[in-house]
């Protein structure tokens, strides 16, 4: 016989994550990343002071799942929207949640200039190498040779150029205090990514500058893979183009 006292919770549903089904496809990485954010906001007690900035992509509905204030941005403009929020709410914790199409294509100017200004923001950059929401078209981050609905023969650098290492580019800017790349390919990577996010969030709380965590995620539907195949693809292939690790760390002693 066991008593209630003994029933210690090792992993509980994060209180800031809604207890209802998401619209994400089975195995989609967004779910994992939402969960990490919810866990961290809870751990850092940020629920009541956070203003999230949603972008346009499958994750636009983040506001339906995370129990915090949220503002929605036009496609790609989340860093500009977040700048407006940041400047008028200096005490809030502000983060953007952006896909790779959103951040690295249409939103290139906005992310680069938010970083150049050193806006005190945390950017959660979910790179699944594809436009998930619109049906799996090529993104600027799509791997060479990868087939998508708009690169049916595989991405050809002669026609469509090369995958863009946007986080490395951002890291050149002095306003960026922390830039790192993690993945969600397995539980241990999920844990490391969480640490990166935590550093980003804490840097903002400590008065740092712009920080970004790029997360190599999956889009099983867009990739035409099972969720598990997608995870393996990240672990084996995607990291070849986008190496994991800290890209720049200019934080005041962490």
């Amino acid at each position: 016989m066991t008593t209630d006292v003994a029933r210690r919770v090792i992993y509980a549903h994060p209180s800031l994550l809604a207890e209802r089904p998401t619209h994400y496809c089975p195995g989609c990485g967004h779910g994992i990343i939402h969960r990490l954010i919810a866990e961290l906001l809870e751990e850092l007690h940020l629920g009541p002071t956070t203003i999230g900035v949603a972008s346009v992509g499958c994750s636009v509905f983040a506001y339906d799942y995370l129990g915090i204030d949220f503002v929605e941005s036009p496609h790609g403009r989340a860093p500009a929207v977040a700048t407006g929020v940041r400047r008028t709410r200096p005490d809030a914790f502000v983060f953007t949640y952006q896909g790779d199409g959103d951040l690295a294509a249409i939103g290139t100017a906005e992310i680069i200039h938010a970083a150049a200004r050193g806006e005190r923001l945390s950017v959660v950059f979910v790179n699944n190498g594809i436009y998930g929401m619109t049906g799996g078209q090529m993104a600027p981050t799509t791997l060479l040779g990868q087939r998508t609905t708009s690169s049916p023969e595989g991405r050809d650098s002669g026609l469509a150029g090369f995958p863009i290492p946007i986080t490395e580019m951002l890291a050149l800017l002095p306003g960026v205090t922390y830039a790192a790349r993690g993945s969600i390919a397995d539980p241990s990577q999920v844990g490391k990514t969480k640490t990166m996010l935590k550093r980003s969030f804490e840097d903002q709380l400590g008065g740092g500058g712009f920080s970004i965590v790029e997360i190599l995620s999956t889009c099983p539907v867009g990739w035409g893979m099972t969720p598990q195949q997608a995870m393996e693809h990240v672990a084996n292939d995607v990291v070849g183009t986008y190496p994991l690790g800290v890209i720049v760390d200019r934080r005041k002693v962490p």
Binding site: H23, C25, P26, C58, G132, M133, T134, G135, V221
Partner: protein
């Protein structure tokens, strides 16, 4: 004559394809046709549906306010679409997933254990073709032969897939065939 069909259920059940087959079959018979899906990302893991119109003259509204045939593969679809059926219209229900009875009584109801039958064919995705077959067996908006031809023309997969779909179609047609006919087969 203008006949409108709604096919509805979970995403991934092959409904949109089944609708295309129906439209294609109509076209093969020289009829005017239109096929209109519910579209968008939210459909992926949610519900999906499409409307197919087969008519003798140019089609007006591709959006309908009354249907002659509704195929509902899951409970939400039943709830959502049964109201659109014209009196006397045909409702095909996936008996494997829908326990509830339709609230309408002025319609013809055909219960088919589509999911279960699909598993006998070996692939859950043929479920919609089974349902379509059943519907056409009962209400021949187009002829079964046209559906067979359309299935071959519209198919995207290899020969096996086509064969599997044809098998599913026959199973469906049988389900829909009037009791007498069924007995005869």
């Amino acid at each position: 004559m203008e006949r409108a069909t709604i096919l509805s259920g979970f995403g991934g059940q092959g409904l949109l394809f089944a609708g295309q087959v129906l439209a294609q079959a109509g076209m093969l018979e020289g009829k005017h046709v239109s096929w209109l899906p519910s579209y968008g990302p939210e459909m992926r893991s949610g519900t999906a549906s499409c409307t197919v119109i087969v008519a003798d003259r140019p089609i007006g509204s591709p959006v309908i306010d009354r249907a002659d045939l509704v195929i509902a593969l899951n409970p939400p679809s039943l709830a959502k679409f049964q109201g659109l059926l014209a009196p006397g219209g045909l409702l095909v229900l996936n008996d494997s997933l829908i326990e509830a009875d339709p609230s309408r009584h002025d319609i013809d109801v055909l219960r088919v254990p589509c999911s279960a039958l699909a598993r006998t064919v070996g692939d859950e995705r043929v479920i919609s073709i089974i349902a379509l077959g059943s519907a056409i067996g009962r209400l021949p908006i187009v002829s079964p032969e046209s559906i067979r031809r359309a299935l071959v023309e519209a198919a995207k997969g290899g020969a096996e897939v086509v064969a599997m779909n044809l098998r599913a179609l026959e199973i469906g047609l049988e389900q829909g065939a009037p009791i007498g006919a069924q007995a005869r087969s």
